[in-house]
Amino acid sequence: MSSKNKKQDIEDQEVEVVKDEPNEKINEETSLEDDVLTVDEEGEPIDPMQALKNEVTELNDKLLRQHAEMDNLRKRTAREVVDARKFAVEKFTVALLDVVDNLERALDVEEGKEDALRDGVQRTLDSWRGMMEKFDVERIDAVGEQFDPHKHEALSQMPSNEPEGVVINQHCAGYMLNGRLIRPAQVLVSSGK
């Protein structure tokens, strides 16, 4: 039985190949094709027109669903992009809040406890530096280095004991994010003696 079905399948395929032949031939061959196509796998007669109609309905339905799915996907992706932008700083903000909390606690410290207060603020700063590292933010310290415009911004130049082009003072540190410069170190550069 199954081998019979297989044979039928093969015959169907052969017919389809015939159908792909140039158009002029179709008229001549229609009668032949009809003979084969009127019988389905179980040997029941089928209307080729109906079979095609069914297939069209099925494909249309499939296409419609695909369109709806694509549409949903597009909307979802758009929303995700908006959300990603809106909440991109979420984790960073949460980390920053620890620092804010500690600074608020520092302000609550009563007068006369300056040593413990300073110690606490120093640790708050340490915790922040640790956090920055986790976010792949790298600090740039320039003093003593050769001036490098890719990492440093020169605020002024003045004579010093250092050779010309060496950074002698740093106004503020620079920072890189994931290897990209987000703020150059602002520096004073030696013009030599």
């Binding site: 979802r76 500690n102 410290v109 040593d115 413990a116 110690d119 915790s127 640790g130």
Partner: protein, 333 residues
């Protein structure tokens, strides 16, 4: 072609996902979290689910329901129900047919009704994300769940308006997620699942994409939270040695300690050591005090040694029940 969602209805947290193409996508809830606490609360007319319910637990202990999964499909007079009763703040009562139910605002409710509220939240999370109505779902349950517990989980789904296509064993779902079904020959695998509040170990046999649970064991009262607790205790002891102040008695300090301990534990799974730095943790007459403790992975491992030891007994028992030895196990998840 309607979408089918997969729900992990956990004791402490729940999670929902959907297939996108040939991979799965975990759906974040409206708060942006991938997991939702399995906590439900009734506060006056308001019904709270998830993080909000968890946050108001302290102010509303009688009507905040958590870990009800431990009650699902259980009898009121069972050993497990009694043990659970001692640990939770909400009332547990017997239903007319002797099942373990809870009482909310004087009204008896089944654990499946409570779970259904969590499931509804997972359902709407998925609907918000997909932009279409979802009814079909697959829900996971522990491998040790008996028929009545499985049925009760199905009932919870039905109450939530879900058509539960299948109840899948959690270890099976884990093995699938790791692609372990794509093996031709028969494999034995062990699934070690240390959740927030419970620990399960299962021995599975996989062959031709068919899973058979050979044995399962566990400890329903051992979980990740116990590991946090051990670390909290250690940090507090270190602080006490240095400063003579017991942070465990200070609710605000304890909260900071809890969060820091959980973070440190997570960091230690990838880093060899971490630093717990909590400035201004407390204050006494001499001024503010700061906590700074370095924890190495080795130190942490020695601290949780007892807990790990506790998880080994169920593992050995499961191997014994499955009639296999540790060397027969092909993969561990």
């Amino acid at each position: 072609m309607a979408k089918v969602i997969g729900i992990d209805l956990g004791t402490t947290n729940s999670c929902v996902s959907v297939m996108e193409g040939d991979t799965y996508k975990v759906i974040p809830n409206s708060e942006g979290d991938n997991t939702t606490p399995s906590v439900v609360a009734f506060a006056g007319d308001e019904r709270l689910v998830g993080a909000a319910a968890k946050r108001q637990m302290v102010t509303n202990p009688d009507n905040t329901f958590y870990a009800v999964k431990r009650l699902i499909g259980r009898k009121f007079d069972s050993k497990e129900t009694k043990h659970h009763h001692e640990l939770v703040s909400y009332p547990i009562v017997a239903s007319d047919n002797g099942d373990a139910w809870v009482e909310a605002d004087g009204k008896k409710m089944s654990p499946q009704e409570i779970s259904a509220i969590t499931l509804q939240k997972m359902k709407s999370t998925a609907e918000d994300y997909l932009g279409e109505t979802v009814t079909d779902a697959v829900i996971t349950v522990p491998a040790y769940f008996n028929d009545s517990q499985r049925q009760a989980t199905k009932d919870a789904g039905a109450i939530a308006g879900l058509n539960v296509l299948r109840i899948v064993n959690e270890p099976t779902a884990a093995a699938l997620a790791y692609g372990l079904d794509k093996t031709e020959e028969n494999h034995l695998i062990a699934v070690y699942d240390l959740g927030g509040g419970t620990f399960d170990v299962s021995i599975l046999e996989i062959g031709d994409g068919v899973f058979e649970v050979k044995a399962t064991n566990g400890d329903t009262f051992l979980g990740g939270e116990d590991f946090d607790q051990v670390l909290i205790k250690y940090l507090a002891e270190e602080f006490k040695k240095e400063n003579g102040v017991d942070l465990l008695k200070d609710k605000l300090a304890l909260q900071r300690l809890k969060e820091a301990a959980e973070k440190a534990k997570i960091e230690l799974s990838s880093a060899q050591q971490t630093e717990v730095n909590l400035p201004f943790i407390t204050a006494d007459a001499s001024g503010p005090k700061h906590l700074l403790v370095k924890v190495t992975r080795a130190k942490f491992e020695s601290l949780v040694g007892d807990l790990v030891e506790r998880s080994l007994a169920p593992c050995k028992q499961a191997l014994k029940d499955a009639g296999v030895s540790a060397s027969d196990i092909h993969d561990v998840v």
